[in-house]
Symmetry: C2
Subunit: 240 residues, 2 copies
Amino acid sequence: MSLEFDGPVPLHVQLKQILRDEIMNGYYKKKIPSERELMEHYSVSRTTVRMAVSMLVHEGILEKSHGKGTFISNVPVQDWLGSFSSFTETVKNMGMKPGSKLLYYGKKSIPEKIKQVLEVEEFYLIERLRFADDIPMAIEKHYYSTEIGNELEKYDLDSAVLYDVLESSLGINLWKAKQSITSGQAIEQDSKCLDIPESSSVLLSERLIYDPNGKPIEFLKSIFRPDMYSFNIEMMRTRE
Amino acid sequence: MSLEFDGPVPLHVQLKQILRDEIMNGYYKKKIPSERELMEHYSVSRTTVRMAVSMLVHEGILEKSHGKGTFISNVPVQDWLGSFSSFTETVKNMGMKPGSKLLYYGKKSIPEKIKQVLEVEEFYLIERLRFADDIPMAIEKHYYSTEIGNELEKYDLDSAVLYDVLESSLGINLWKAKQSITSGQAIEQDSKCLDIPESSSVLLSERLIYDPNGKPIEFLKSIFRPDMYSFNIEMMRTRE
């Protein structure tokens, strides 16, 4: 990619966008090239390079290490806990473009645990691969009662924003959620979808959403690429 | 281990404790033996077995799966986010015994990132292996300014509850924390300490604690066994 030297977009903004795309696509491994290399490669001034880089530092995509160069921060998507959001909302908050690809939908009756959690005899699964700026980030398995599943099925599940449909179209009040976060090892199918080596470490989350009457509405199991996703929170100290 | 049939402790409580220790020590892999097997092995009634097992289900250590048996829940230690606690407090809240072993203490000047985060030129590291009921659960790397580190050094770092010392003895107000959670692959040294296979998935956390003036007090990097530790939170829905 090259810069438009007579276009309306300032050079440092163009350079920033190019570097950002290259970083997100895994073009660089740990570091970006030196200032001098970037100046020569893109035929721009040191000032332009510095402005572009410092914008990416500010966005949390790069980190400067004194005397060692500029490193790629590990985790572009920050999921802020404290209130719960959909993947779509989380990715939009990062200034990235959300996307999804339907992997499975339909009724199921195993695993047993899902039936216990949702308090149903049979359930509905919608499994999607989720993207941020076209990079695979997560696999989300949404479990619902068959009643809700049959309604959701009427929408285009490849692109539907499920929480919008639940809240706006089905009039369901997504009130409270209990979430648990740990990690595990990717199985073959998941690692293929997420484009990571088999047996890689993956970040795992389980979340149960209730309506205001305490009725379980959705159980969500998510598998995240840990190099691309983190959970974040600000907390006060417990006083006892 | 066997039961005391003429002791003061009810049989189901004794059996519960034995099963709990066996589970926590990894004696069983995924399931515990059937009711009949436990009855025969410990020479107790079905009622005793059921009471012991249902206490462990209630504690979240076991899960029953209809027609398939009783499974070991993955994650005994639940770290509830929302307010921040020390490892000692978290483990005590689970009804388990906290423990620690000092791995390293002293001044350091790399990695660079720590200096930036703590806003210092040199820092102090206290690295400890943490236990719950004598099972290795986590490696905690506490980073402080050298000023604080020099004070902490006066205590027995193998057993000191660092937040107690900071708050009660040094009069530091641990006010607010920013925490980030993701996962990664264990390196050789960490996997040995945690008694897990090399390259296992580990749960990773970084937390920066500030005093009420916004001055960074502690940066904490933790590595958790994901089969033993999870982060948990209850949240309301974001309204926009």
